[in-house]
Symmetry: C2
Subunit: 239 residues, 2 copies
DNA sequence: TTAGTTCTGGTCAATGTGACTTTAACTAAT
DNA sequence: ATTAGTTAAAGTCACATTGACCAGAACTAA
């Protein structure tokens, strides 16, 4: 079966089997820590049921269906493993090292996603799907440890510069909740007063008239995020 | 031939032919403008000699050889089209829309590169390889206009935040040359005195004892860049 | 010798940030 | 009902960074 590949440059056709193409996704959610109760970063992993790396944990993923875009494929395997829809989804990197899989050459296009904690609480969990703290995933299959590390690095970067934290939260939120997101992801305490000043100075944050009632102390204002996701090629020019 | 890759999720195997995989590269170099003589951004394109998009200009690229990593493939087709070795090479994005190519499903993993102008001056040019000003490439094949736009956006971003400008220059350079790089890429004038203050305050810039002689005016100091490329997965943990 | 240009170091006002203080608003305990 | 305890929210101050601008140094060309 002659491969028809033509791409861009003018290149001789090839006969050897091409590397296979897979999509994987690093899914982040905030869940309350077991002890402190404060939110911490978690990711779901799936247990491999065949070789190679049988019985090790790995990122959710699968082959690219012929009729779906890369982003759709990532969205689908997120749905299949956790039952959730992402509130944020972005391409992370294409990993194509020669020896990623011992059996065969595989190129993985990896996405990363954020899901809301309200949903994440009711996410599927089973014998073969389990949530792990992002900083304690143990030894994973393939090069998935490096991938998780890189995804974490990107998440922290985007959080520090871009306006991404709100995708961890619902439509309405208090500034303290936003701060908790930052503290969980960056893993350090932030001064409440200074943090408030910074966040409220960005135009994408809108102060609603509402207050969050029912707390133990002074009721905080509720805010709303009015910005757009990002400017990746997949999301560009969304009006 | 049963596909062995099972990644993470436990997914039914597929039989239909997988999308084919291509590598393309957006190559940036600074060359003196025809009229002003000031440096401007240029990129080399190759003419397509078959359908689809026959006779249109496109990004250099080609299939992924079985024995090379993604980065090596990008490096190779850079060498093949321009005869040059990149001083900087980074993955840009994986483009996998369903209708990128009318004939067949193609997923392109695109890299972007910087080459030094001294070399870029003697780069190959021919009937089917020509350099274009980055902001005037005309209508390209496939989705390559969107790709070039995105690459430009990333270049400007990295320049504004990261320390990437020096890969456009040789080992020794004057601060005015660095400023010219910034002005060419960002397309606006910068105050020489303030620019100097910023650049010299970064620890990656080292002042050599040398001066550039032979100019028309006061001879400027020569500097050296001592930083490392970046922290992509491909380049990580390079000591 | 002078005019023209770039290189280099400097000032000043405006802005942003981290550390900290103070007051407001609520709940829970006494 | 009063008080203690806690969080929300606003403000103050010292410090660093930035953009706009100025001036002297160092060279070439007329």
């Amino acid at each position: 079966m002659g491969i028809v590949y033509t791409s861009a440059a003018n290149v001789a056709e090839r006969r050897s089997a091409p590397p296979s193409l897979a999509i994987s996704t690093v899914i982040f959610a905030l869940r309350p820590s077991e002890k402190s109760g404060r939110p911490t970063l978690w990711i779901p992993l799936v247990r491999r049921i065949r070789e190679p790396y049988k019985d090790l944990w790995a990122l959710p993923g699968g082959p690219l269906t012929h009729s779906e875009s890369l982003q759709d494929a990532a969205s689908r395997n997120l749905q299949e493993t956790t039952g959730l829809a992402p509130s944020y989804l972005e391409q992370l990197y294409a990993f194509g090292g020669l020896h990623r899989s011992p059996s065969q050459r595989v190129v993985s296009i990896v996405y990363w996603a954020l899901v809301q904690p309200t949903e994440a609480a009711l996410a599927d969990e089973s014998e073969n799907v389990r949530w792990f703290r992002a900083d304690r995933v143990g030894d994973l299959a393939f090069d998935h440890n490096a991938i998780v590390d890189y995804a974490l690095w990107r998440l922290r970067n985007k959080l520090a510069y871009g306006s991404i934290a709100y995708h961890f939260l619902g439509e309405y939120f208090t500034l303290a909740q936003v701060r908790e997101v930052y503290e969980a992801v960056l893993d350090r305490q932030l001064d409440p007063a200074n943090f408030r000043r910074q966040i409220t100075s960005t135009p994408e944050i809108e102060e609603t008239g509402e207050y969050l009632q029912g707390g133990k102390h002074r009721p905080p204002r509720l805010y709303r995020f009015t910005g757009r996701p990002g400017l990746d090629p997949d999301n560009r020019s969304t009006p």
